[in-house]
Homo-oligomer: 519 residues x 2
């Protein structure tokens, strides 16, 4: 069965309730019933919920085969907790058929790839897959198809019960003995703990994993003691120096700077660029550089930003410190400076990931975005974007908030070089659709700008501002003329991953690649 | 069937799942499944959720006979919203069989008594009943028995689905057009909006009723836009000058001062009176006066309070301003000064009512209370307390957080004069049990102190401190010698109200009184 973005979805995946993607607002206003976790009240006061080890927590809860455990990835590449907990479950307790529902997975969790290969971990649900986990899943070694969801799609799935979490293991920079926990106040601060909030409310059990136990009450906490079963103290939750990746730098590349300047010019030319506008940008080089060029437009036109939202990096914090940003709504921090800023700044607020991006709330922050600036691994002539599979078809990316901000914003701008190495970024058909074309408005490359035909209004104000743009076909042909047409990837029939649209419909599938290229 | 506090509970009320009260920790650790509200996602961005009138909101939602609507009572005697909304439903839309699930009801809702008598309102669930509503229910005019729950018992009932809220109408001092709402920032501020938080998450529809629409974003909000369907702007939500009642004064009555001093002496003599102790007191005269005497003990012994919790009045805010209280956790404000203090003070925090007192969370604040000082309409020789029915058997009180703090605290002290007018406060058998005797530790009257026989440890430290105490029988006999033995009330068979223990078991019932005394 083909969906709205022209992808064939095997009917066996649809079952009774699953639907194919039918456009960005298809689920608007449809009634759904929220999930109902099974909880255990602490009627009798306990002096402390602290247990001595992860193993002890697991035994106290009574872990069993087939459980779904959840984690958040605020420590990003520096996270120790996911591997640590999974190791205890697999190696010390011999638990099988584990499903790991994480907000993202990367190289820090390479150990889990071993447990997939050995058949201990049989389900993966995540907003990002990088490192060895992506390779072993692409090789067909995970027993069930991985489910890839956006940052907004994940809390939707948690709230609707599409994924029911048995135990949420929540990394916290600090906690008190009752479980009041946060991403600051500890030895390895990571800033916002926004990804943890929803899981703490929907998991049957919630366990805080921390390396810093503070005096009661550990305020202002993100996860409340009233949602926490147990607290476990470990040696170290991670290495917070690894939160920022090499991409989170200020670029000096003239091509990237040129693209960033063009993005800022487009924003400044739009009718949405007025006092109180809202804005989000990613952590990549060109996206970050947009902040700089935007600043001069803001000063020139005497326009201030109402709020910035999303994953937050130092660049936007600096803009706020200069008085140019009213509020920052922060679901995760891309660098330590931003986490520190969150702790110290009155109008820099922590939010939950469902408040941020969940389409099944009564209005997420992304719904009020004027602009979002995003990157892409690939974008095709239907404006469909791929941020999950590489040009070799292997899982190595993260939709994150991409599909959510694209769908919610008034103007979604993709900024990407036309080619990367010998690969065309603008192409005829992306390997995998992760953000559907009906959510993407403008493409900015180093060889020109293209506007989605759905947005004649944007073409008009670009014309009025004298900003040149071309048909996206022109950019694709240019790319192919530079690096050649890509040869078709060869797939086997086996589906290794399902890409859910943010509303839970099926957007695309990733199949097992042949021959599989393992580095 | 008789329960643990020796009350006969008609078996017809028990049904399949309802149980009789079996002790304060009976439900500890028992698994329950949380309720699953039916929600409607706002996938498509809307610029504003503001509708023109309560009637328009009701029509948009599609109100129908038999619905359950919820309200909170933060504006206390000054609330306009409950009557306003119910009037629209009844008089403009002709809705019948309404159940009103309020956090408390009083004279401000006298209009609803008319709708009960006329058969439009057929169900009442509340933590307090005062004014005409109490009288018409006691007269047997409500079609179904009213259900009385403590402040902690109500969010438990909401979370478990014992009461499923169709529409939560939430009074807010201010909101923005997306529904970010709070108890401050408006024309009629009331401070903490803690009673609203749980309802906003468990109601099928959440509607903000406010008289002040602020620019987006209305931070720091209590109820989040992501939980709000509609916002309606009304002329005035209430008269916030009526939040404080005449009881919330500093007493000059020498008897009350003497009792307050004795309470403070008991606290100071206890092993729990040490650095970081926790404390709650009510808003009544003698309770408030305890703060004053406690201050001198704290200064003398160089001991500071870790946290105060509960309904908060100016007295405890003043203690915090003097540096004697670490944190205040605030679910409601008993006067305007306390609400103002909440807004301006870093370590004065707003909490939800489930965090405050819900026995079915994983640890409410009341679980960590060292001391609570409470009043009583009556207390019997089994230490059972009545705070719901007057000596005439008519509903005119409010359990509020009484049963929750009594159950959670290490030392629950009841302070009450031995007699009021011609009525014995200490008696053989209270008219209605609202806080079971197994939760009450010490009784302080103007004629002496009594300790619950369950607490031999307390007797011991009182003896060591030279604080005299007597058997509670002695106090009862003294009371009877002063005002005479009360004559038995005469009841009909009809149950007009069910008093649920905080864990949802049945603690007592209130029957129709004969002859009914209506002023």
């Amino acid at each position: 069965m083909k969906n709205v973005v022209n992808r064939h979805i095997p009917e066996v995946l649809l079952g009774e309730s699953k639907e194919i993607y039918q456009g960005k607002y298809y689920m608007n206003g449809k009634v759904y019933q929220k999930d109902a976790p099974r909880s255990r009240p602490f009627v009798k006061p306990v002096d402390s919920k602290v247990l001595g080890s992860i193993k002890e927590v697991c035994q106290k809860i009574g872990v069993r085969d087939g459980m779904t455990i959840s984690f958040h990835h605020a420590l990003r590449n520096g996270d120790y907790v996911m591997s640590m907990v999974t190791k205890v479950l697999v190696e010390e307790l011999g638990i099988r058929d584990l499903t790991i529902a994480a907000t993202s997975l990367g190289e820090a969790q390479d150990l889990i790839a071993d447990y997939i290969e050995a058949g201990y971990v049989t389900g993966i649900q995540t907003s990002g897959i990088r490192g060895r986990i992506g390779k072993v899943i692409s090789a067909g070694n995970l027993k069930t198809p991985a489910i890839i969801r956006s940052h907004g799609g994940r809390p939707r799935a948690v709230a609707t019960g599409d994924v029911h979490i048995d135990i949420a293991f929540m990394t916290a920079a600090s906690s008190d003995k009752q479980g009041n926990a946060k991403g600051t106040g500890g030895k390895h601060n990571f800033g916002s703990m926004g990804y943890a909030i929803d899981d703490s409310r929907y998991a049957d059990y919630t366990v805080i994993v921390t390396d810093t136990l503070n005096d009661y009450p550990n305020v202002l906490c993100t996860v409340n003691a009233s949602d926490v079963d147990y607290v476990v103290l470990v040696d170290a939750i991670g290495d917070n120096q690894k939160i920022a990746t090499k991409e989170a730098r200020v670029t000096q590349d003239p091509r990237e700077l040129m693209m960033a300047e063009n993005v800022a010019n487009i924003i400044a030319a739009s009718p949405y660029f007025k006092e109180g506008f809202s804005f989000q940008t990613g952590a990549g080089g060109p996206s970050l550089a947009v902040n700089r060029f935007l600043e001069s437009h803001m000063r020139q036109k005497k326009v201030k930003m109402g709020f910035a939202v999303g994953g937050i990096s130092k660049a936007i914090c600096d803009l706020q410190d200069k008085g140019l940003v009213g509020h920052i709504f922060d679901v995760q921090n891309f660098d330590l400076a931003a986490g520190d800023h969150l702790e110290k700044t009155a109008n820099h607020h922590e939010i939950s990931v469902s408040q941020y991006a969940d389409p099944f709330t009564k209005g997420a922050f992304v719904n009020l975005l004027d602009f979002v600036v995003l990157s892409a691994l690939e974008i095709d002539t239907d404006f469909n974007v791929n941020v999950i599979t590489g040009s070799d078809g292997v899982l190595r990316g993260a939709p994150g908030g991409h599909p959510d901000t694209a769908a919610g914003s008034k103007c979604c701008i993709i900024v990407t070089p036309l080619t990367r190495g010998r690969v065309a970024t603008v192409c005829e058909k992306v390997v995998t659709v992760t953000t559907p074309g009906d959510c993407v408005d403008v493409l900015v490359t180093d060889y020109g700008i293209a506007v989605n035909p759905l947005r004649e209004d944007i073409k008009q104000w670009l014309d009025e501002a004298g900003i040149a743009h071309v048909n996206i076909e022109v950019l694709k042909e240019k790319a192919y003329s530079l690096v050649g047409r890509p040869s078709n990837l060869e797939w086997e029939e086996e589906v290794v991953a399902i890409v859910e649209a943010r509303d839970g419909t099926i957007l695309d599938v990733v199949k097992k690649i042949k021959p599989l290229i393992l580095d």
